[in-house]
């Protein structure tokens, strides 16, 4: 097999050491993802990457004609780890479409449930899935010299978390045998109890409805949540300094590690946690109530805030087909020409999309993924925003807007301050997350831990507000509504791993069009028609290789750290396949996907 002309691999053209490597399926994520790369082992860099999602389910198709009240029950099933985020997003869209504003208590209950989801989900992903990439066993197998350094490197925060050296931290993350790994599993369970107190069942909630919640507000309900939350806060006081130690060590032990998974700062955050004092779910007031969310929506480019206006964010969304298995919808119906404020709605906006699947053979020069390519149009360019694994974009957007100020959490304009109160074993603690220099693997991972603390702080505030309502006798949590014959709605929130939007059009009392856009299509998408690679592809391409194993025993740990930092969740798409380390010239493997 001859070396083909590879876009993006010009720098290495003629290089005899360009090796195809792929990982398909990728483990320790949710869903089905394949990563196919070409690696230059001489220059120790990834020359090319393709990301492919191999599953199609068809929600936008089978939801047509269904009762709009069913949307949140159905769309929750999109995701098995953050399905509740879909449920909530659908309810936001239903509330807009049905013209209903839930009682404040309903919103505080929903915010408490969602805060518990962030606390659970980031925790299990960070410690039990990502953590394994940083555990003793993995580091010894991929970078023995780093392991040697870790053994001799005292942990700067050892007095807080008790692990004397960085090596001790790594050992604590070994699967099952590591004590921090096991502790995280247990914590992932009581945080899900907190979740179930508010939303009934995990991960597809039973007690959420358009108009509010069926959860009955009682002293017991909130006290049960409170006691568990304070245990989690105790844990956060250890968890944050522990991860700072671990991640700072990687920069120190492997100079240049900031380039792993690095891409241009192009972040989107659609905001989370409504403020019932301001949110009336009307489209015309969306700019106002969007800015009152307790995680501020925003588009951040090159470290600067482009907008925090949800209307502008909404209108900028474009769905490009890219190299995915769909036909274009140019001959299909336009559902909305203008939004209620008179702004034109683009043909490529989710409100006007029709999903037309056309299964094909996988061909990396042609169509190769079930994920489309969402972009955000700033008036000039179709930006391939990523979500920074969710937490990085949320922290960054909230920090820059400087709007959130709820005591336990305060955004300053360039940082986020988190104040956690006294708990059993320790006094009050303040953490400050500062906007980092880079959008890279380590900072995505670090932000995840900080956002766990953010969620815990926000939950304390929501509890204060819920108790205020309860003590004032305002216990109703649901408001009746009627379904209109014709209508529209949009919901914006943050799934755990990033931006989430739901767009619905109602006609004759039924769903005429429904398009959910979860974070993974934003992160895992294939090259678009302009040739712009999706964020995983972009972040993996040009990732330097620090792993000490050569092609014959190569694991791809740096690539996997880059991909996992986005918190892939592909019930919406990535797969990696290991090409056994043969050079392209000599490789006759029929598995070669580029041949």
């Amino acid at each position: 097999m001859a070396v083909k002309d590879l876009p993006g691999a010009q720098a290495t053209a003629g290089n005899k050491n360009l090796v195809e490597m792929s990982w398909d399926p990728i483990t320790r994520i949710v869903g089905s993802l394949g990563i196919y790369t070409k690696i230059d082992f001489q220059q120790k860099i990834v020359a090319e990457c393709h990301s492919t999602s191999s599953i199609f389910r068809g929600y936008s198709i089978f939801m047509k004609g269904k009762d709009p009240r069913d949307a949140h029950f159905i769309t929750s099933r999109i995701c098995g780890i953050c399905g509740d985020n879909h449920c909530v997003c659908a309810i936001y869209a239903q509330n807009m479409a049905f013209g209903v504003r839930p009682p404040a208590m309903g919103e505080w209950i929903m915010n408490l449930g969602e805060a518990a989801e962030y606390m659970f989900d980031h925790n299990i992903f960070q410690e039990n899935l990502v953590g394994v990439d940083f555990c003793e066993q993995m580091v010894r197998e991929t970078n023995p010299s780093v392991w040697e350094k870790a053994k001799n490197k005292p942990s700067p925060n050892a007095h807080i978390h008790g692990y004397k050296t960085i090596a001790d931290i790594m050992t604590s993350l070994n699967p099952f045998s590591g004590d921090f790994y096991r502790q995280a599993l247990v914590i992932s369970r009581y945080t899900r109890e907190m979740f179930c107190l508010m939303e009934g069942k995990h991960v597809h909630p039973s007690t959420l409805y358009p108009g509010g919640t069926g959860t009955v507000a009682t002293v017991q309900l909130f006290t049960d949540y409170y006691s568990r939350l304070m245990r989690y806060i105790e844990y956060m006081k250890v968890c944050v300094p522990l991860h700072d130690d671990l991640f700072d060590f990687f920069y120190e032990a492997l100079p240049g590690y900031e380039k792993v998974g690095q891409r241009r700062i192009l972040l989107g955050c659609w905001g989370a946690f409504q403020d019932p004092d301001h949110c009336d779910f009307t489209y015309k007031n969306m700019t106002h109530w969007g800015r009152k969310m307790f995680v501020t929506p925003g588009v951040v480019v090159d470290g600067k805030l482009v907008t925090n206006d949800l209307v502008q964010i909404n209108l900028g969304i474009r769905i490009l087909l890219g190299h995915s298995y769909y036909n274009d919808w140019e001959n299909e119906e336009t559902f909305m020409e203008k939004d209620p404020l008179g702004n034109p709605v683009d043909r490529r906006h989710p409100w006007n999309q029709t999903t037309l699947p056309t299964p094909k053979k996988r061909n990396f020069d042609g169509q190769y993924s079930w994920v489309m390519s969402p972009r955000w149009y700033d008036g000039k360019d179709h930006l391939a925003l990523d979500t920074g694994g969710g937490a990085l974009a949320r922290m960054w957007s909230t920090a820059l807007s400087g709007l959130v100020d709820i005591g336990y959490v305060k955004a300053t304009g360039n940082s986020v301050i988190i104040n956690l109160p006294k708990s059993v074993l320790s006094g009050p603690v303040t953490f400050e997350w500062k906007c980092p220099q880079w959008s890279n693997a380590i900072e995505r991972d670090r932000a995840r831990t900080y956002f766990q603390a953010y969620s815990a702080g926000a939950a304390l505030f929501f509890l204060d507000k819920a108790f205020e309502e309860l003590r004032g006798g305002r216990t109703r949590s649901w408001e009746p509504f009627t379904v209109p014959q014709d209508g529209f709605g949009c919901g914006f929130t943050e799934a755990v791993r990033g931006v989430l939007s739901h767009h619905v059009i109602i006609r004759d009392g039924k769903i005429a069009n429904y398009h959910p856009y979860p974070p993974t299509p934003w992160n895992a998408n294939p090259r678009d028609k302009y040739g712009t690679p999706g964020p995983y592809e972009d972040a993996v391409q040009n990732t330097p290789i620090f792993e000490e194993n050569g092609p014959d025993s190569f694991k791809g740990i740096d690539i996997m750290r880059a991909v996992r930092s986005f918190d892939p969740c592909l019930p919406c798409g990535v797969h990696m396949y290991l090409g056994n380390g043969k050079t392209i010239e000599t490789m006759h493997s029929p598995l070669a996907p580029f041949g």
Partner: protein
């Protein structure tokens, strides 16, 4: 089998949300670490090949066990399937699902191809979640993929070469302890400690699915008094607001969702029948009062035998799948594909 290693090969690559994999991490009775570390008396040695918590980074290293099993070199193993099975036979090109590549090609190997390769060699087939068991949400009317459950795919009478029927633990997602408890039972059976797992006509463990939601619901007292909620945030019985509890086989209100916390109608969530073969179509629109609800709730103070007869009638309907879920090479869901 006490000395042998039981391999658990888990394929979540159906039309799935991975919610049943995630649910297993939530179980505490027993917890996954207790099973994986053999920390329960009588357990055989167990080796999980489960993508969600797998140590390896994926790809060939991870798939090795699956190919060994196909070659008959990994005996005994339990095949765990998660997600609905797309009907790949309706396609002339491409695929709906993929999990690794088909050996000898550069194309994905489909979920159904994996089932074809592994089911005949498995000691037991365990279907987790309502998608895998009966088709579930992705097998809704109008779906483009022709999705179905494993019983439709392999046949309701299918048995493993060791004589085990397909073991089905439905739920959307699965109740965490219902799953870990069933896995534990199967492992004990593999070790020769427990007799054949008792299953009902739809493959469900009888001790988990033998009663209805309503029978285990602590709001049933309101029902008995004819005191029904008219708004969703009421603490009373939700049957007039769309709760199907009286005809749905599930233990969740009794067991709670996790650590005894949460659930469905017991905590304010209408039962939408998510454990049932008829889910979701036969329960939609979810927020309407179930048919027969008016009558049976009106007579709830009258002698219960009559109510039970009426309920059995409804139960038989919702305990059956819609007819478009099948393994024939046609799409009959009502969706017309792109020309």
């Amino acid at each position: 089998m006490a000395d042998t290693v039981v391999n658990v090969l888990w394929i979540p690559a159906g039309l799935s949300c991975d919610g049943d994999s995630v649910a297993l991490t939530n179980a505490s009775q027993p917890a996954i670490e207790e099973i994986a570390l053999g920390a329960l008396p009588g357990l055989p040695n167990v080796k999980f090949h489960w993508p969600l918590i797998e140590y390896s980074l994926g790809g060939a290293e991870f798939l090795e066990a699956f190919f060994k099993a196909e070659r008959g070199e990994l005996d005994p193993f339990v095949l765990v399937v998660e997600g609905s099975i797309a009907n790949e036979k309706i396609l002339t090109e491409g695929y709906w699902t993929g999990f690794g590549n088909e050996p000898g090609t550069d194309q994905p190997r489909t979920f159904s191809a994996w089932i074809d390769a592994l089911a005949p060699k498995a000691w037991a087939v365990l279907a987790v979640g309502t998608c895998a068991t009966y088709g579930g949400i992705h097998a809704m009317s109008g779906n483009p993929t022709g999705a179905m459950g494993i019983l439709d795919y392999l046949g309701w009478e299918w048995k493993s070469k060791f004589g085990l029927p397909i073991v089905c633990v439905p739920g959307c997602p699965i109740q965490p302890d219902n799953l870990s408890e069933t896995i534990l039972y199967l492992l004990w059976q593999a070790a020769g400690i427990a007799p054949m797992i008792p299953l009902d006509e739809a493959g469900r463990p009888t001790w988990l699915f033998g009663s209805t939601v309503h029978e285990g619901c602590d709001r049933a007292g309101y029902y008995e008094q004819g005191d029904f909620a008219s708004e969703y945030d009421s603490p009373k019985c939700l049957v007039k607001l769309g709760c199907w509890g009286p005809v749905v086989k599930c233990n969740v209100p009794k067991r709670g969702w996790t650590g005894g916390v949460g659930g469905c109608p017991n905590v304010g969530g209408i039962c939408i029948g998510c454990t049932m073969p008829g889910f979701p179509d036969k329960f939609m629109p979810f927020m309407d009062e179930p048919p027969g609800g008016k009558l049976s709730s009106a007579v709830s103070t009258v002698y219960g035998g009559m109510v039970k007869t009426l309920r059995n009638f409804t139960m038989n309907t919702v305990d059956k799948e819609p007819k478009w879920r099948h393994n024939r090479p046609q799409l009959t869901t009502g969706y017309r594909p792109v020309k």
